[in-house]
Symmetry: C2
Subunit: 287 residues, 2 copies
C-alpha cells in the first residue's frame, strides 16, 4: 500500500458519508406520516473526536460522528474514522501482517439506522481499509427488518450482488454466506437480520479493483436502502408492530454487545465509546 | 460436601424464593401511585425448566423462574435452579476442584428487580452453592439506583455488613471491595450500581457457618430492599427522571451482556436463555 492508497480510501469514505447524510436528510424532511406528525424532522449533527494511540502515546488520528435523531430516522449514525498507530502486542498477533511490525492504519465508514416505523427495515453498513505490512478492505451491509419482507430482502441482495459481480463472480456467494454466519445469534437460534454481505481481508492483488469493489458496495447501499425506506415509510403501523420492533431491537443490542467483534474489541481496548455505541438502538425492550 | 449439604442449600434457596415473592407481591398489591393507577397490579408467574447435561447427555436438574411484570415492579425475576452433571473440559480447568473430576452440583437463587419508578432503586441479589471435589458459596447483593441516595446506600450496606459481621469481621470490607470492582463498567468509567457485596469461592472450612452466612445475606436482602421500595414508592417523578432511568438501564444491559460472567457464560454454553436474560431491563434507551 502507498500513502496515496490510504488517502484515496479516506477521501472516499468521507465523500460517501456526505452522500449518505444528504440522502437521509432529504428523506427526513420530505416524508411524514400521520403517526409521526408530532415529531419534528431533524438534521445530522456532526461531532469530531481525536485519538491518542494507546501504544505510542502519540496522536493517532480520529473521526467524525454524524447523528440524526428525527422523525423518519429514529436514530441514525454515520461515522467515519481514520486512525493509525501501533496495535497492542496481544492484538497484533491476531492481525495479518502485524505479527512483527505492529504499526497500522485504518480508515472506514460505519452506518446504523434505527427507524421509527417498525415496517421500515433497520440497516447496517460498514466498509473499511486497513493497512499493516499487508493491506485489505473489509465490510459489508445487512438488512435488519422486524418483519422480513421477501421483496425488500431480494432487492437489497440483488443490489449487493450486482456490486460484487462487477468485480468477481465468486464474491457474492462467499460474502453472503459469511454475513449469514457472522450475524447469527446462537443463544436465540436465529439470524440477527435478513441477510446481506460481509467480507474481510479482501485483497485480490489489485488494489484499484478492490477499492472499486468497496466503493461499489457503498454506492449499492446508497442506492437501494433509500428505496426500501420510501417503499414502506407511508404505511401505518400498530402498537403491536412497534412492540415487536422494540423486542427485535433487544436482540440487535444483544448481538452487538455479546458477539460483534468491532463493538467488544472497541469497548474493551479504549476506543471512542460514543462512536462505538452509536449502533445501539434508541429504545429497546426485553419483556 | 455431603448430599445433606446440597439438599439443605437447595431447600433454603427455594424457601428464600417463596419469601421474596410473597413480600414483593404484597408490595405490588398494597401500593399504588397517581402515575401508576392505570396499571393493574400483578402476581408472579412461575415457569419451570429442565436441563440436559451437555457432557453426559443425562438429566441435569433444572430450575424455576418466577416473573412479575406489574405496577410497582415493572419487571422482577426470582429464579432458582439446581443443576448437576459434568463441566465441559475447557470450563472444568477454570473451576476449583474440577481439574481432574469434572462432575459438579450447583444450586442458587437470582433476583433482579427493575422498578417502574425511577426513584425506587433497582436491585440484584444472587447466592449459590457449588460443589465439585471442593465446595463453596458465592453471591452477593447490589443496589442499582438511577439517582443514588446516600441514605438508601448506607442502609443497604449496613444490612449487608450486619449479615457479614455475624460470621467474620473480615468479610464485609473484602466483599464490598469485590463488589465495587466486579460491577465496574470500564468503557463508561463508572460503577454499574451504588454498591453492595460480592463473594465467591467462600469456604471457611465450616460448612454450617458458611451456609448460615449465605442465609443471612438472603435474609438481609429480604429485610432491607422492601424498606427502600416503600421509602420511595409514593414519590412522584418527572418524565426527565424516567428518561434518565431508561438510559441507566442501557448501562445495566451493557454490563450484563459485555461483562457479567454468569450471563456471557450461560448464553455461550447453552444455559436456559429465558432465565439468563431475565436480568435484562423491560425497557432501555441509548440516545
Amino acid at each position: 500500500m502507498t500513502d496515496t492508497h490510504k488517502k484515496s480510501a479516506a477521501v472516499w469514505f468521507e465523500s460517501l458519508r456526505d452522500s449518505i447524510c444528504a440522502t437521509f436528510e432529504a428523506i427526513e424532511s420530505e416524508y411524514c406520516h400521520a403517526q409521526l406528525v408530532d415529531i419534528e424532522p431533524r438534521r445530522f449533527i456532526r461531532k469530531s473526536w481525536e485519538r491518542t494511540d494507546q501504544v505510542t502515546g502519540q496522536a493517532g488520528g480520529g473521526g467524525e460522528m454524524s447523528t440524526l435523531k428525527g422523525r423518519i430516522f429514529e436514530k441514525v449514525g454515520v461515522n467515519i474514522s481514520t486512525v493509525y498507530g501501533s496495535f497492542a502486542p496481544e492484538f497484533a498477533k491476531s492481525m495479518p501482517g502485524a505479527e512483527h511490525d505492529p504499526r497500522f492504519f485504518a480508515t472506514g465508514i460505519s452506518v446504523v439506522a434505527h427507524m421509527r416505523s417498525p415496517l421500515v427495515p433497520a440497516v447496517h453498513m460498514n466498509t473499511r481499509y486497513i493497512a499493516t505490512t499487508q493491506d485489505w478492505f473489509g465490510g459489508g451491509a445487512d438488512l435488519n427488518p422486524v418483519f422480513p419482507n421477501p421483496d425488500d430482502t431480494q432487492d437489497f441482495l440483488i443490489a449487493l450482488k450486482t456490486a460484487c459481480d462487477a468485480h468477481g463472480l465468486a464474491y457474492f456467494p462467499k460474502y453472503k454466506t459469511w454475513c449469514d454466519e457472522y450475524f447469527y445469534v446462537p443463544h436465540r437460534n436465529r439470524a440477527r437480520g435478513a441477510g446481506g454481505i460481509f467480507y474481510d481481508h479482501h485483497n485480490s492483488g489489485h488494489w484499484q479493483n478492490d477499492f472499486a469493489f468497496t466503493q461499489d458496495v457503498g454506492k449499492a447501499f446508497l442506492d437501494i436502502y433509500p428505496k426500501l425506506v420510501k417503499r414502506h415509510v407511508n404505511e401505518p403501523w400498530t402498537s403491536e408492530e412497534r412492540h415487536a420492533q422494540l423486542l427485535y431491537r433487544g436482540l440487535y443490542a444483544e448481538f452487538n454487545l455479546l458477539y460483534d467483534r468491532g463493538t467488544t474489541f472497541g469497548l474493551k481496548t479504549g476506543g471512542n465509546v460514543e462512536a462505538i455505541l452509536m449502533s445501539l438502538p434508541p429504545e429497546a425492550r426485553w419483556d
